[in-house]
């Protein structure tokens, strides 16, 4: 591959999906990078906020958790959880949430709770946190996932965060006023969801990645007919990411 890492490509790809004026709900890890990248490069008027209640921090240093004191500095408001979730779901705002998970299915539903039976799990993960709420209430969700057959599964062991549920109109029928997953940003390409069926399809593969390398890591059928090669990160995108966003490579590794 070229002179950039998968993580760098993921952060920059996600950033490109953001529009100026969006209000971004950021989690930890790559999602924190992506939010910061969006703000610094692609959408300077986007507002980044955290479920903990920190709204629009200066982010002079990269936070390592959503409760990091770095999300409380230079903000317009320091509040709390009740407040932050009222923002995620506010009808006046176009809110985009960045989420990760342990498992994803064909309709973008997510599991971040457990592998195996809920009452006697083989592996326990942290749980929803604000993921279920962001997936329920935000205008849209961008998901970060490493590819892998144990991650892109036919059936989730536990449905923590609602995607398009069973596809079609099922999300709306379940009681959700808006939202749903927009894209899945992986280490090798980007998936989106069909407007009618809400099934996941391959939209982009990263430069030089063969499509079979992607489909080989997904345990359900996925339409690849319209897939295009992504444009690589520009020198400027990489420079800002490396020099300004995560100079200590805390998340870039």
């Amino acid at each position: 591959m070229a002179d950039y890492t998968e993580r760098e490509m993921m952060a920059i790809s996600a950033g490109r999906l953001i529009s100026n004026g969006d209000v971004l709900f950021a989690g930890t890890g790559v999602s924190m990078l992506a939010a910061t990248v969006s703000k610094r490069i692609h959408a300077p008027k986007a507002v980044v906020f955290f479920e903990t209640g920190g709204i629009d921090p200066s982010l002079d240093e990269l936070p390592m958790a959503v409760s990091d004191s770095r999300v409380m500095h230079g903000t317009c408001l320091n509040s709390g959880l009740v407040e932050s979730f009222s923002i995620v779901g506010h009808r006046r705002l176009h809110t985009i949430a960045f989420l990760g998970a342990a498992q994803i299915d064909k309709f973008g539903n997510l599991n971040s709770t457990c592998i195996g039976d809920y009452h006697h799990p083989k592996v326990r993960f942290p749980g929803s946190g604000g993921a279920c709420d962001a997936a329920s209430l935000a205008s849209g969700v961008i998901i970060f996932m490493q590819l892998g057959k144990r991650r892109f599964v036919k059936k989730l062991d536990y449905l923590t965060s609602p995607g398009w549920l069973q596809g079609g109109e099922s999300r709306k029928e379940a009681g959700y006023a808006r939202g749903g997953p927009i894209a899945v940003v992986t280490n090798k390409g980007i998936m989106k969801f069909d407007e009618a069926t809400k099934a996941m399809y391959l939209a982009e593969y990263y430069p030089g990645v063969p499509i079979s390398e992607i489909t080989g890591e997904i345990d359900f059928d996925i339409d690849v007919a319209g897939a295009k090669e992504s444009s690589p990160p520009t020198a400027e995108e990489l420079r800002i990411l490396r020099e300004q966003v995560d100079p200590q490579r805390l998340i870039l590794g």
Binding site: T28, G29, E51, T52, G53, G54, D60, E61, P63, M64, A65, V66, S67, D68, S69, R70, V71, M72, H73, N78, S79, G80, L81, V82, F85, V88, G89, T113, C114, Y118, H119, H120, P121, K122, V123, R124, F125, P126, G127, S128, G129, G130, C132, D133, S136, L137, Y158, L159, T160, S161, P162, L165, S170, A174, G175, Y176, A177, Q248, L250, I251
Partner: protein
Amino acid sequence: MSLTEAVQRFIKNGSQVALGGFTVSRNPMAVAYEIIRQNIKDLHIVCHSQGQSFDILVGAGCVKRVELAYGANGRFASTCVRFRKAVERGDIEVEDYSNNQMSLRFLAGSLSIPFIPSKSGFETDLLHKEGFSTEMRSHRKVARKKFAEMTDPFDSDGGKVVLLPALQPDVALVHAQYVGDDGTVRIKGLTFADIEQAKAADAVIVTCEEIVPKSFIRLDPDQNSLPPFLIDAVVRLPYGAHPTACRLFYDYDAKHLNMYRYMARDDAGFRKYLDEWVLGVANHEEYLDKIGGSGLMTIKADPVIGYRPGLDRR
């Protein structure tokens, strides 16, 4: 009141305890350590997203039952290490909610209303799968149902709503930056759900970085968080949230959290951590000595920007 007395008086075997803070910030660590030293058992923990204080209480065997949204510690633990082991071993009873759900449940408790509606979580396993058995649901302070669904009586289209039961824990633990000598509490930075938790609880223990004069804390009451008459115990414990952060006073102790993560991986290592850092120190002063003066100064926050710029956090 001393830390020892505060814990003795307000936390019993089986108490329902709301932990303040959020993952790596303002955890009530000194109180958690004292709970472990006093060997209190069967706690029912209620929290949204908890990290260090939660994990160490679970690891030390003080916890029987948990209602939570998230057990992790930012980049220091993608899942709380001892929590994960306890669940996988079946050592604790867990009921999962989301952060919005848990914070709304505390809000309802603080407003003395029995439940609160939400539009989050339809058709997810958070609603479909119950962690607590019917038998547990007859226990004191456990909600009779995980949630209820209903049709919105004000919506002519018959929209659905999830009702979440209020929480009113036995005791809420808060670590604040300032408490006035009149008992007024001021939390700086994000309050998470600390204020709702304290107002919802039957008793509130506040540990703080500084006790300041009433004349100072009442000069700008707009900034204060809790009135004196809801607070049962105030204990001045500088660095009482270590190794988690306390905005304006100190950053998280990244080295310590990395050490914890490493030691907590196996039972023997965790035991060693406990022996050394919790049971092996008689009180908070000895704990501070063990961290050492330079250790405290390394993470001391810039008092304006609130954290330690340039801190080595790898």
